[in-house]
Amino acid sequence: MSEAALSIKSVDKIYEGRGKGPVHAVKNLDMNVQRGEIVALLGSSGCGKTSTLRMIAGFEEVTHGDIVLEGRRVNQMPPARRNVAMAFEGYSLYPPLTVRDNIAFALKSARSSAKDVQRSVADVAHILEIEPVLDRYPSSISGGEQQRASLARALVRQADLYLLDEPMGQLEPRLRAVLRGRLKSLLVDRRMTAIFVTHDQTEANALADRVAVMEGGVLQQFASQKDLRERPTNLFVATFVGEPPMNVFESKVVNGDRVRFAIDGGPTFDFADSDIPPSVRAAIGRRDKVVVGVRPHALRLGAGSGNARIVSNQWLGDQSHLAMEVAGKLMVAVSHAPIPAEVGDRLQFGVSASDLHVFDVSTSAALSHGLEAA
């Protein structure tokens, strides 16, 4: 079993506020990253992901708790001594050096021959498609090129850990898709342990082995993409992961001979006893109110006990996004074929038991996912 390359133990980060009071940016974080693993810190702005990355890098002090890198406690160690390579926003290129020299600078202490250094620089520049700008100065290249150069500078080093802050934020979608694949291959081939921060789920999904979803300074769930999507631990993760977001509704539940979910102000879904396994029924227990969720792709259109008015029908080239008015909210269904319906039409819809997620109304914790208890 591979050792933990990075261990975050009960870490808190509190910023002393000026006039506004202290900000508790990271709350009691526990996380282990294995060697060779690629981890994404995913969340909206202010969730604590950047503070966490900066603490690992050494740019911020840890208020409580420990950061352990390769078995060494590094809380007091300055960033330069941690053997960590970084590509951070604001950690920009040195203006008086060309891009090539900037990247090579990172290898200064590596004691390789000049030829090896040039070769490493050329390799990483090729992967990130910045060969044309190698001999230009940072002020004369575009934002996207600067970002890739900064990334190259981090990746060319041999380090225990690679920390990337929104590595492709400045790039347009076309380039992003291409570079993602190459970056992933590079990280995997060289068995690099990497942690990157992003607010873009597609990026997190494409690059990471496991994703840590954070919100309000608290780690919500740290799991593979598959688990986050199919078995979210709470309502936040369920509605955060996945585009478009999961449709959720408060509902009364009757857990008797049949299992009935009556959405407040909306349709009722009846399931026979045989449709819902005992483990799920046990998880729902004696509750009479729950929150039910169903992903947009899982809605069955055209038949079922639901009936709603269509508010919008958008065809996006390879998929259809249909929005319907249910229980005072907009419910979204996605289909990979155009849906022949007009705004204002009514459409029937249904959901099968295997696609239903159930959450507790007060704690938001997941109770069941489809045919399995949480």
């Binding site: 347009e172 076309r174 898709a177 694949g181 789920q201 919008s312 996006l316 080239g317 996004h321």
Partner: protein, 364 residues
């Protein structure tokens, strides 16, 4: 309301020409999405129509009247800016009301109109706050309210959802079309997100390389893009572009990919013997375990699960990389290794490499 027309408008800055004799006509009440990569001049176009910048040449007509030389405050246009541009020293209420106070509207009328639009955009409870106290989503709605409150004939929206978080952006993408239609204004909606353009626009004007590459309905732009550039800008993942040379054969035009000979629809018979670029969208490629008549042997090199789709990176025998996309999340995800790729010949696009323009198949 009014229609909007720009004729042969050009604009040049010290850094170079940004717009080169472009023309566009929007009908009364139409929503035209202006789409293009960053730096393509979309914001400049809006500023020219609003009147805060002057074109070097060309005419701008609003409601049939030539307004090219008219000051912005006379044009009767509503505008929402990318970074909101709210007045920091005024409350949200005063920000929205500023579009009415210029015309000496009586205070009761101002209050009524502001409250009505605020209710529609769900910001009635924050009207008393200063902009810095509002969340991004609230700022964006306040900026929209300011643009809409005077019921302008022409509405210019400069990427209003850009600085708003993903979830809110999606919600607004669903709500905006009906809101805009209800206002009755003719709308120019600038965006860098092709899905937003397709979702919101009655027509899309694709701005790239200083001119409109194509102005058409969304389905047309996606299904029959005018150039390679337009084809690459629409679609996620980006369209596969493969250099090919169609050859005539007894069974019609054929192309060679990865060692296999694949049929093209007969309509492409007129381009045999010439170099071309094949455009193939990822969702139109089917990956199977067994060979069939028109399939290409490939190796599945990478499998990336994305939003309710699986992306497959395929490599042909001659080293070409092709992206294919399968709908749904497979229970048993495709493994790496040999497979076969097949596509529907009717779904392909063919482009002329020299001009970048699409070659239309000729009917028999």
């Amino acid at each position: 309301m009014a229609n909007l027309e720009i004729r042969s408008v050009s604009k040049e800055f010290k850094t170079g020409k940004v717009l080169d004799r472009i023309s566009l006509a929007a009908d009364n009440g139409e929503i035209v999405a202006v789409f293009g990569p960053s730096g393509s001049g979309k914001t400049v176009l809006l500023r020219l129509i609003a009147g805060v910048e002057q074109p070097d040449e060309g005419t701008i007509l609003l409601g049939g009247r030539d307004v090219t030389d008219q000051a912005p405050e006379r044009r009767g246009v509503g505008m929402a800016f990318q970074n909101f541009a709210l007045f920091p020293h005024m409350s949200a209420f005063d920000n929205v009301a500023s579009a009415l106070t210029a015309h000496k509207t009586p205070p009761e009328s101002v209050r009524a109109k502001v409250e009505k639009i605020a209710a529609l955009l769900k910001i009635e409870h924050v009207l008393g706050h200063a902009p810095r106290e509002l969340s991004n989503g609230q700022k964006q709605r306040t900026a929209l309210a300011r643009a809409l409150v005077a019921e302008p004939k022409i509405l210019l929206l400069d990427d209003p959802l850009r600085n708003v978080d993903a979830k809110l952006r999606y919600e607004m993408r669903l709500e905006l079309p009906s809101l805009l239609k209800a206002s009755g204004s003719t709308v120019l909606y600038v965006t860098q997100d092709y899905k937003e353009a397709m979702a919101l626009g009655d027509r899309i004007a694709v701005l790239s390389d200083r001119d409109f590459a194509q102005i058409a309905r969304p389905a047309e732009i996606y299904g029959r893009p005018a150039t390679i550039n337009v084809a690459s800008l629409f679609g996620d993942p980006t369209i596969n572009l493969i250099p090919v040379e169609p050859l005539a054969s007894s069974t019609g035009p054929k192309i060679g990919i990865g060692g296999a000979a694949l049929s093209l629809p007969p309509g492409y018979g007129h381009v045999t013997g010439k170099l071309g670029v094949l455009g193939l969208r990822a969702e139109n490629i089917v990956v199977e375990d067994t060979a069939s008549q028109e399939s290409v042997p490939v190796e599945v090199v990478a499998v990336t699960p994305l939003n309710e789709r699986t992306l497959l990176l395929l490599r042909t025998d001659d080293g070409r990389e092709i992206l294919a996309s399968e709908a749904g999340m497979n229970e048993a995800p495709r493994r790496h290794g040999p497979a076969f790729a097949r596509f529907d010949p009717e779904a392909i696009l063919l482009f002329d490499p020299a001009s970048g323009r699409r070659i239309a198949p000729q009917s028999a």
